[in-house]
Each structure stands twice: as structure tokens, then as C-alpha cells.
Amino acid sequence: MAQSLAKEFTKGLWAEIPPFRLVLGLCPVLAVTKSVENGIGMGVATTFVLVFSNLLISLLRNVIPSKVRIACFIVIIATFVTIVELVMQAYTYELFLKLGIFIPLIVVNCIVLGRAEAFASKNSPVLSVADGLGIGIGFTLSLAALGAVRELLGNGTITIWGGTPVFEMGANFLPFQFMIEAPGAFVGLGLMLCLMNLIGKK
């Protein structure tokens, strides 16, 4: 039991890390990774939704009739997304303004529905929470990593939280403006996918 729990948790961190291995949920990956802070905010919001929707769907898996399961999953996921949206507005309004429309769009993030359908609806609540947590943390790390590359090259800083950079390039560094614009997201993601495949080949 403990072994499979650890297995379900860690697979999200490497073997099935969402954007790079499963290549799922690319919309927020491309859109919000202008900085590390945005990436972490989006990742934490998605993790919250993943964990709680996995838990609830797994608890209800024997009650939900299979013909309306997708509708039930969407109701559950949408409820948690709306809770996240309200809580973010109340306590981290500046981050909410930056992530804006992409918070409600977590509802249609295929990672969340994918885990509900492929995992939580077939496994016990404990395993489903471990799966949601692992995938969520993996997603957060991927967003933060891509955000770090883009922010470092495009702006010359790394900002973890709260707006003050923890690392700054020297004054002689000329930022690649291009990296924090939309095309930079595709280039950055492509290079990271390439790197992941190179490492994974061994």
C-alpha cells in the first residue's frame, strides 16, 4: 500500500510530469509563464483543484452513474475552480489580475478532467489524492521552470513571490524581450521538451 502510494505520487513528478511527458494542459503553460510567480500561482491553483476534485470523484465513484459521469466530473471541477477564483480575488488580488481569465479556464484544463476520468474514477480516495498531489506539484514545477527560463532571459530577473526579485542579472545584461512575449513561450517549451526527451532517452 505504502509502496503504491509513493509510486502514484512520484509518477507525477517525473515519469508523467504533465506538460513535458503527457504534453497536456498546454494552454496555461504557454499563456501564464511570463514569470516564475505567475507560474507558481497558476500551478498552486491547479493543484488545489486537482486534489479536491480527485478526492471527491473517488469518494463518489460508486454513486455516479457512468452515463452522466462527465457531467458530474465537470460540476465538481467547476465548483472547486470557482472557489479558487473567489479566494484568489479575496486574498491575492494582484496575482488574480495577472492570471485573469486563465483561472476560470482551469475547468477545461484536460489534466484535471484527465485525472478524474483515468484515475480517480477507478481508484481509492487515498491513492487519488496522492495522484492529484503528485501531478499538481509536477505541473507547478514545470510552470515554474519554464517561467524561470523566460523571466531570466526576457527580463533578467527571477521573482519567486511578492514582486521583489531574488536574483537579478547585472546591469550589462540586455534582456531578450522576445522571450516574455507569446512566441517565447513556444520556443521555451520546445527547448524544454527537447531537453526532457534527451535525458529520458538513456
Binding site: P65, I76, E94, L97, G100, I101
Partner: protein
């Protein structure tokens, strides 16, 4: 038949519980969200409309209630000494729900001083330009209170933003609503400010 009933029961219970939960969270966070909007949306909008205000409109805000309408008013003293007010109206029918518009009106000349979009959920790069790029709302500046502020398409005087007609329309609806409210409530506002 049994399957049918179980589908209906499960979905009904699930949506009802979700609705109840969301209502609880919404009422729990309402006051806090109101404060955040005041701090991050309304305060900068007032600052943009009246950069040279000589008082603190946020601290002096008051709410008037007349004819079933309740409106939050931010009184402002302009640099030349004349009194002005700022208040927010919601334009119906944006792409992502209502579009909030803060509008500043000079009480002495009955002229609109300026306007800024506050809360919205419009598409980034299209409708969201109403907020990010003040060029569109600058058309409201210096208009008299009885000006026709509809879009040119609706036989008014305001140019819509290209590619964002629906958002433009929502903003003009908010402005027109502000004109009506001002004309209706002005005596009450002036009484309160003395």
C-alpha cells in the same frame, strides 16, 4: 428506468450541493473582495481621472440611497477648487459579463472629466484594451452630461474599438447609465456633500 432515476437524482443532488457551497464561499469572501477591488481597481481609476485631486476621495466616500438605488460616491476636489464626484456603473452585455466603469463628473459644470474601466473579464488583447489602453474611454472626457454617448453604430458619437464592438457597447451602456443616474441623483449628492 432505475438507471434513469439514479442519473437524475445524482445530478440534481450534486448541482444543488455545489450551488449551496458556492453561495457560502461567495458570501464569506464578499467583504474582502470588495476591499480588494477598492484598493486595486477603484483607487487607481480615481487617481487616473483626477491626478491632481486635493482631497482623499477614498476616505471621504459615502453611499446615497434614493428611489431604490444605492450608489457609492467618491467626492473629489479638483485643482482649480471645483467639486467633482466619481462613481462606478456596470455596463451589461460584455463578452465576459458586466464591465465596470468609473466615471468622474464635475459638479459645477456638469461635464464628464474622465472615465476608466475597472472590473471586467474581456478577452486579453481585444476587449481588455478598453482598460489597458485609455484611448477608447478618453472619448468620454469633456463631454457634457447630456451628450449622446452611444456608439456611432447606434447613432451616437463614440467610435467603437475595432475588433471589440461588444465590449465597446457595454462600456457605452455603463456611461449612459452614469448620465441617467447623475441627472436623477444630483440634488441628493449636492445635499450630502455640504
Amino acid at each position: 428506468m432505475r438507471e434513469m432515476i439514479s442519473m437524475i437524482v445524482v445530478l440534481t443532488v450534486l448541482t444543488a450541493v455545489s450551488g449551496g457551497l458556492l453561495a457560502a464561499v461567495k458570501s464569506g469572501t464578499e467583504v474582502q473582495i470588495e476591499n480588494q477591488i477598492l484598493k486595486f481597481q477603484k483607487a487607481p481609476a480615481i487617481q487616473d481621472i483626477f491626478p491632481e485631486a486635493t482631497n482623499d476621495p477614498l476616505a471621504e466616500r459615502f453611499t446615497i440611497t434614493a428611489e431604490d438605488i444605492s450608489l457609492q460616491i467618491f467626492p473629489t476636489k479638483m485643482a482649480d477648487g471645483s467639486n467633482a464626484i466619481v462613481f462606478e456603473t456596470k455596463g451589461k452585455g460584455g463578452y465576459g459579463g458586466d464591465v465596470g466603469l468609473m466615471i468622474g463628473i464635475n459638479l459645477e459644470t456638469d461635464q464628464i472629466v474622465g472615465a476608466r474601466v475597472t472590473t471586467h473579464a474581456e478577452t486579453p488583447g481585444l476587449g481588455a484594451r478598453a482598460k489597458d489602453d485609455p484611448e477608447f474611454v478618453s472619448q468620454f472626457a469633456d463631454q457634457p452630461i447630456d451628450a449622446n454617448l452611444a456608439l456611432k453604430n447606434d447613432s451616437g458619437t463614440i467610435d467603437a474599438m475595432s475588433g471589440a464592438t461588444i465590449t465597446s457597447k457595454a462600456v457605452t451602456l455603463a456611461a449612459i447609465q452614469a448620465q441617467e443616474l447623475y441627472q436623477k441623483l444630483k440634488p441628493e449628492i449636492v445635499k450630502q456633500m455640504k
